[in-house]
């Protein structure tokens, strides 16, 4: 058992976690953040993507004990049903959400990209979401959504 102290979506969070507990498990089962999905569990699908210090990480391959002292963001950080983030708006507008399983991870990967690069090319976008699989959309709508959101949001302000 380890006590971890970290920032989750802007809030200081203290939590007891098992030594062998993944961040995915801690977020879903202990903190009830169900937007973080479990797909493959072996670092191939990206459904479990979270941002640690604003960089995408697979929470299925991250030990919860490792995030102590770090900043963790899930899609809840971006917005909620009352006030969606421009990226979320764009995903709806461009039809980039079908079943939605990949969407939280996609949004976080996209958000991390826009933090570093306000005007990404399509190649930059494809590279940024290359670790996130989508079985529904065929990606074109996702790339379009991110490209169009890029102009609209000042992610790093």
């Amino acid at each position: 058992m380890k006590k971890i102290d970290f920032t989750l979506n802007g809030k200081q969070t203290i939590l007891d976690v098992e030594d062998n507990e993944t961040l995915l498990h801690a977020l879903r089962e202990k903190l009830d953040i169900k937007s973080v999905k479990e797909g493959c569990s072996i670092g191939e699908c990206g459904a479990c993507t979270v941002l640690i210090d604003n960089e995408p990480h697979y929470s299925c391959l991250t030990l919860a004990s490792k995030v102590s002292g770090h900043d963790v963001k899930t899609v809840e950080f971006l917005g909620d049903e009352n006030l969606l983030h421009p990226l979320q708006e764009a995903f709806i507008t461009y039809g980039a959400v079908q079943c939605g399983y990949c969407t939280p991870g996609m949004l976080l990967a996209a958000y991390s990209l826009l933090l570093k690069n306000e005007h990404p090319t399509d190649t930059d976008i494809k590279e940024a979401i290359s670790g996130n699989l989508c079985r529904c959309t065929g990606y074109i709508q996702i790339v379009e959504a991110i490209r169009n959101a890029a102009g609209l949001c000042k992610c790093n302000s």
Binding site: D19, N20, K66
Partner: protein, 278 residues
């Protein structure tokens, strides 16, 4: 769920080495991208020594022509590091190609070497930079050439109580350098075939040529005879053709003729010609 284990999270190298020497069947945990996958497939360890909190092992520094890379540097950190980009560009490029962004943020170069996957992108660039690995245990430090450290695919000379702490490479500022690989899919693919090169030329002559070819053979290798023979040679069509022919012969000699060579060899040949022409 992962198999049961207890973990310790030392903050200094000394503490980590002390834990390793006192714990039985302890496994070092770095990025987790390989180890946790193996655990999901049933490998289990009673103790994990999570070394990711050891700051000293994340530093990349240079001293004269030598570059010291902390083993916990992630692929992402190496790919954007200024020293590496200036003096070992092929390594920065190769690390920028590893896996996906998340894997690059998580996976470390040390972990990658200890796993010794023959398809690891970093191997070929490290070989042209004459990489050494530094292995530390409570009883002392040893340093060995990367080529000697990796014994076979997925097998290295690391001993149970050792940590791979640093990788040292020779910087090659002013060389024309790069890394190319051929894969089925551009992003998120495990390297199938790769070439790292660093070439110094002057006035139409080759001064120094370093090449490493990966994944064609069980281990990436340096065609050293060809490298030597190119020294002070005029850079012309004939020299290039002869050199490329010799390298291909060496690949076949090192690895034996393989069915996949039917398509691999022509690809390597064209790549090598481009690289030598520059």
């Amino acid at each position: 769920m992962l198999p049961d284990f207890a973990s310790v999270i030392p903050e200094s190298k000394e503490d980590a080495l002390a834990y390793l020497s006192s714990l039985k069947s302890a496994k070092i945990f770095a990025g987790g991208t390989d180890l946790l996958v193996k655990m999901r497939r049933g490998e289990s360890y009673s103790h994990i020594v999570d070394i990711t909190g050891i700051h000293d092992l994340k530093v990349i520094s240079d001293h004269d022509e030598m570059i010291n890379i902390g083993a916990l540097s992630t692929h992402y950190e190496i790919s954007v590091n200024q020293i590496i980009s200036e003096k070992a560009l092929s390594l920065a490029q190769a690390c920028g190609w590893v896996g996906s962004p998340a894997i690059r943020n998580m996976g470390t170069i040390g972990g990658n070497l200890v796993n010794a996957s023959p398809a690891a992108d970093s191997l070929a660039p490290l070989l042209i930079h004459d990489a050494d690995v530094v292995l530390e245990s409570k009883d002392g430090t040893r340093r060995m050439r990367l080529e000697d450290f990796i014994l076979a695919p997925y097998k290295t000379d690391i001993q149970p109580h050792e940590i791979l702490t640093f990788i040292t490479i020779k910087g090659l500022p002013g060389y024309r350098e790069g890394y190319k690989r051929v894969t089925k899919r551009a992003a998120w693919a495990i390297s199938r075939l790769s070439i790292a090169w660093a070439i110094q030329e002057k006035g139409g002559f080759y001064k120094d040529v370093k090449l490493a070819i990966g994944s064609c053979t069980p281990m990436p290798f340096r065609p050293r005879k060809v490298e030597d023979s190119l020294k002070d040679r005029a850079k012309d069509e004939k020299t290039i053709q002869v050199a490329v022919g010799e390298i291909i012969d060496e690949i076949i000699k090192v690895s034996g003729m393989r069915p996949s060579f039917v398509y691999k060899i022509p690809v390597v040949k064209a790549l090598l010609e481009d690289i030598l022409k520059g």
